[in-house]
């Protein structure tokens, strides 16, 4: 496990006290680095479980937003991604992301099949705790993309896409920023994945929905959410899990984690308020879907910044994200007419970019060790911009190629008839809800 310089710096503070203690005790020979801190290990295990729960939250958030005849397919895409990408991660993904760097671009194959990834301590955690925490990030990122593809993508094609994308796009990108790669070396600030997770999934979503084409009837019929309470519950679980995602990214239950936790709550609250206010002004009414969307926008935007900025910056970041993402989703998308069905690009792509750049503005040396524009370090904003642009370019090209390749193996889009019937019945042979009459069918023997 190779941490970037950045994370190493964060960790340093976390273990300072313990080291001091141990060093000052005569007769203790081992270095602090060698021990598992039960507190931090517990914290990251629980954070991992919380990130896993985000995938379920996502399945609900997305599932509630689609029409009744494609809710199961939508939820399946998140749920099975959680499984397929976990396998990819064990077999080769973790190694590509966190193996010893090969020229800053990709990790070596030393951890293939999680070999060497076990109970041994590594920076205060069990090595496997770190590997699993990172596994959940990979799963979530691929699942996020699916929101742009709903109601029309062949399920098998999505699975193949997910395997390739996790391998070819996510693992290297993760390596660049956190695994000892070139972006980390350049000093980019990405606390919990503004680029690695959100810009990347947002761009993949946009490219994918353009390649797939719009849903049949898009722009002619409304395709409103079929179950908004489900969407709100999903947003709530995402919010809950995101504390694990952001605070857990400190990799220790230290002050940095606490700061990340605090600004996550603040930016999310403000994301909701930003979106709701914008909507109230434009449509005359605040909607629940707007509130839920604003929460995600706020969460996305604070993700890269969480370990580097303070509470007042979080207010600006979150509120700005709510407004900007609302404009992207409700005004710009309507004008351009592409069918980013559940607004993955509009929220994760746009919100992630906003968050990545603004981190370069508000970063406070006293919090995360790096100053931003406001503290006179304009260069940091430049580094952030380089990272954003390189992420966008890389992800866009790679995603396009992957989709084209998948399309050769199996057509990525379902037949028109299957789309009419609905992908739940067509691809999975299931109906989400059965009332008494409906459920009364005829058994086949």
């Amino acid at each position: 496990m190779v941490s970037t310089g950045l994370i190493a710096r964060i960790r340093l503070r976390a273990i300072a006290l313990l080291t001091l203690l141990l060093v000052s005790v005569p007769g203790i020979a081992f270095a602090a680095e060698d021990a598992i801190s039960h507190a931090d290990n517990a914290f990251i295990m629980i954070a991992s479980a919380m990130v896993m729960l985000m995938v379920i939250g996502l399945a609900l958030f997305y599932g509630g937003m689609v029409p009744k005849n494609s809710v199961l397919n939508t939820m399946m895409m998140s749920f099975v991604t959680l499984c397929v990408v976990s396998l990819v991660w064990v077999l080769w993904g973790y190694s590509l992301a966190f193996g010893t760097t090969i020229n800053g671009f990709v990790g070596s194959l030393e951890y293939l099949g999680f070999s060497g990834v076990g109970m041994e301590p590594s920076d205060g955690l069990a090595h496997c705790t770190f590997a699993i925490f990172q596994m959940m990030f990979a799963c979530l990122t691929v699942a996020l993309i699916s929101g742009a593809y709903v109601s029309r993508m062949r399920f098998s094609a999505f699975l193949i896409f997910g395997i390739l994308w996790a391998t070819i796009v996510y693992a290297p990108l993760c390596h660049w920023v956190w695994g000892g790669g070139w972006l980390g070396e350049l000093g980019v600030l990405d606390f919990a994945g503004g680029k690695v997770v959100h810009i990347s999934s947002g761009i993949a979503a946009l490219v994918g929905c353009l390649v797939l084409g719009a849903r049949k009837g898009y722009g002619q019929r409304p395709m409103p959410p079929h179950n908004l309470p489900m969407t709100l519950l999903g947003a709530g679980l995402l919010w809950f899990g995101w504390f694990g995602f952001n605070a857990g990214s400190a990799l220790a239950a230290d002050g940095v984690a606490a700061n990340a936790f605090m600004v996550t709550q603040i930016a999310t609250a403000l994301g909701v308020l930003g979106w709701v206010v914008a909507e109230w002004i434009r449509h005359g009414k605040p909607t629940l879907l707007g509130a839920a969307s604003g929460a995600i926008a706020g969460l996305v935007s604070i993700t890269p910044a969480a370990g580097f900025v303070g509470p007042l910056a979080a207010i600006v970041i979150g509120f700005g994200s709510g407004i900007i993402c609302f404009i992207a989703v409700a005004i710009i998308k309507q004008k351009l007419g592409y069918d980013d069905s559940l607004d993955v690009f509009g929220i994760h792509g746009v919100g992630g970019t906003w968050g990545a750049l603004i981190t370069g503005v508000f970063a406070a040396e006293a919090i995360g060790g790096t100053a931003g524009l406001l503290e006179g370090n304009a260069a940091q904003l430049g580094v952030q911009a380089i990272a954003v642009v390189s992420t966008i370019v890389f992800v866009a090209i790679a995603t396009f190629i992957i989709l084209k390749i998948v399309n050769i193996v199996v057509p990525i889009r379902v037949s028109e008839n299957d789309e009419d019937i609905g992908v739940d019945l067509a691809l999975h042979g299931e109906d989400a809800y059965s009332d008494q009459v409906t459920s009364s069918g005829t058994l086949q023997k």
């Binding site: 409103p224 707007g290 005004i331 607004d343």
Partner: protein, 111 residues
Amino acid sequence: MKKVEAIIRPIKFEEVKQALYKLGVKGMTVTDVLGCGMQYGQKEIYRGTEYVKLLAKVKLEVVVKDDMVDKVVETISSAARTGEIGDGKIFIYTLDTAVRIRTGESGEEAI
């Protein structure tokens, strides 16, 4: 034998039902429907998209003897009326016959 079919506001259903009971009408069948008429629909919003949806209404079906029709129509009308657009409609049909499944009775006895 007639079927009186009334499309009314959901909020008025309980009142109508009780008025019918008072009149002595004990049998009825009720369905959730959507409708539009003069009252065209309700604007909804999701993520910047505005659209108009049909309105939720309740369809009430009561099969009664011919001589009850006027009283039933009268009762439903006065219980369901608010005076605003959207109060609903009543449609009246003639039946050939009715059958009570439990006993096999048919015709007026079956109602």
